[in-house]
Symmetry: C2
Subunit: 119 residues, 2 copies
């Protein structure tokens, strides 16, 4: 179990942080929740500040936690696609709340770029 998942208080908020806490997970999830399967390489290009190692690690943890689904096609060169699981979709309100708050903090006048395209 990852350190971040230890939750001695058994507190709901701490539990949520165990799933989406960490520097990069929320943004990774936001990139994946477009509803379309996304390839690893495309994610890496969209988020140049995350090293590929960390991206791979975060994706693996999100998969272990059941928030995303990993589709691996047995091709060469390899092709791997990610999409939100049903459980992952239940996180959308949380991510949306986080997004909206952050967007407000940047500039109250700026309209949200949040566009959930969930099938």
């Amino acid at each position: 179990m990852r350190k971040v998942h230890q939750n001695p208080d058994n507190c709901a908020v701490v539990r949520t942080m165990g799933y989406i806490g960490g520097k990069w997970k929320p943004i990774v999830l936001i990139r994946i929740l477009t509803g379309v399967k996304v390839r690893f390489g495309k994610l890496a290009v969209q988020m140049p500040d995350i090293s590929r190692k960390i991206l791979a690690q975060q994706l693996r943890e999100l998969e272990e936690d059941g928030l995303i689904i990993r589709h691996s096609y047995m091709e060469k060169p390899p092709r791997v696609e990610y999409e939100l699981s049903e459980l992952g979709k239940t996180l959308i309100p949380v991510l949306k709340a986080m997004h909206d708050w952050g967007a407000q903090m940047e500039d109250p006048a700026k309209r949200s770029t949040w566009e959930p395209i969930i099938p």
Copy 2:
């Protein structure tokens, strides 16, 4: 600026994480948002898993970020009380979304202990 506040992507979700990310901040905020001023010592007792040093540090950062207000009375022994700022109150929907999701994950049947008592 704390490392966690660096946001090269200028992403709203990452920005939010800069404020409430970290292992303890959401639970600290939850304890403070009752609407009543809370003393440092009471917070420390309520959250025995957070060392007093870390609690003090998190409170200082939350204050620097303008999410909470620190009232220090010039008494001996000292008395310090914390309360949510107006900006901090805007975080309530975010914290509530996080709380609800985490509560669901624990046990869908269990009813929420979330009871916002905001003046």
